[in-house]
């Protein structure tokens, strides 16, 4: 997997961790998939690199 130049700091990662968990709970079990896919598309658009995104997809599929 490609390592981007900028990564999250530990406090930054912790903030995202909490924000994601809270948002999944707020979307509810029926809508959490939809919420996560919307989020993935928003992030993918900003990454603007199908290869990097595909690498992320493969990494996320591992060890499910």
């Amino acid at each position: 997997m490609t390592t981007p130049k900028n990564t999250l700091t530990i406090p930054g990662l912790e903030t995202v961790y909490d924000a994601l968990a809270t948002a999944i709970d707020s979307a509810g079990p029926d809508k959490s998939n939809l919420f996560l896919v919307k989020l993935a598309l928003l992030n993918a658009n900003l990454l603007a690199d199908p290869e990097v995104i595909n690498a992320h997809i493969q990494a996320a599929l591992r060890d499910l």
Binding site: N33, L34, V37, K38, A40, L41, L42, N45
Partner: protein
Amino acid sequence: MHQPSTQARPSIYYNYQVFKPWLPSANPLQKRQKVVIAGSGPAGMVAALELARLGVHSVVLESELQVSQGSRAIVFTRRSMEILQQVGVADRMTENGLPWRFGNSYYRGQRVFRMEAPHDPDDRFFPMINIQQQYMEEYLLDACQTNPLIDFRWGNKVIKVEQQPDFAQMTVDTPEGTYLLESDWLVAADGGRSEIRTAMNLPMEGASYEGFFVIADIRIDLPLPTERLAYFDPEWNPGNTILMHREPHGIWRVDYQLPPGETPEDALKPESLKARIDAQLAMIGHAGTPWEMDWNSVYSARTLTLPDYVQGRVIFTGDAAHLLPIFGVRGANTAFQDAQSLAWHLAFVVKGLAHEKLLANHSAERVGAAREIIDEAGKSTRFMTPPSSGFRLLRDAVLSLSLTEEFVRPLYHWRTSRPHEYSHSMLNSTGDDNALFTAGPAHGAPPQNIRLSANDFLLDHLGGGFDLLYFTEGTAIPVPLQQVVATSRSLGVPLKVIAVGASQPVDGADLTMADSNGHFRTRYGVQASGAAYLLRPDQHICARWLTLDATRLQAALKTALPQ
């Protein structure tokens, strides 16, 4: 005994004419034909008309006694109009059809995407025109019936085909029984449910999508323009899609997806149709507007093609050759291109001007087109009718994001039927200057139309054979080129020479186009006199030169007509 219905089909706007069947007892003994066409839909009739234009006689066998039931294909593309112009019916289409160029997608009451199809000032025809298929068939039929090279036989149904090494023998059933008909070639243009294809047991490649759509034509007065309307995931039909199109005579096409598990029989019950159409009208703010049903039907999306359209002496064309999804107006619009391609390839083989391998090229080009369409239409189909939970989740995420996020909106784009470019055709010249051009239509592309004056366009003058566009400011086509043209013509090859860029008629040209402002040259990427384009009888480009000489013209014609 074949007994087609003699009752005029019901319609609230179209007056069906029932024709008399062609009976073998009333006609002389049948000699072997050059070409027999089974089926008189858009593909069959365009093939017959284009064959006739190239001097080839055909027999058209139509099992029914009238044109087809219901509006069926209603949206025709610019390229279809250009092809219909070639066979002489574009004026009637223009006179009676509704041209348009905008498409709208709605989600949760908001217009989330508006498509604007480009309309070039050099184009004679609009990107799209809406008219019911019965009218289009009627115009083609009128052209067929006045053509001395077309023997049109109503009420004649092919029930058996036997392949011989150099001809096909058909058993044709009529209201007074069967007769035998032999033909060098049989064109199977007998539609999506082709019985000829089924009887020959030919497998198709591709995919079928689950889920049914209802098509209903209603007469209603709606104050809406002629534009494509698509509604995604409405409250009355969750998760599904509804399409609406205006047709002539106050008719609207309403096309909606059925919930999973519902059968076509249930969906077509009058109370079911009424409840859903009323719900759709209410959603768009026209609840209670009176309407009347004309015709309805059910379809499912399929992306299937035969891998080879030439099977012995039988050639498949149009829906008989492939089944394409309705999204993107793929059916009749593809059929016109198939039929135009088939007609010229077959005409040149029948007339002995090229080897039979020209037919293999036809198949390769059109199977290639079908596969390209399947790839493109598959994307639209996966958006309109998601085939799995993953595809559904992504589609729903896009719908949701589209309310606020611009970047996903192009995913609504409805990939419309467009002409295939035969970029790798074996008919393309190998020794020309194709790669050196920086503008203009390239190898295999359809021509760019040019507006010559207010009501005069380049495509008005093309077709019926090869066309050589020769760009010159001089007074004559160079003699060596004229000699190559004369030699080809003496062998029977129809070849027209059009001089572009001179103010007076050019010697050796059949026609001269002045191009006083250089606009034509610019669009064709021509920088100096002596450049040329060679167009096949379907107007696709097979060679182009910055400077044409006799040897290279000769070579291009040889490549385009393999011996």
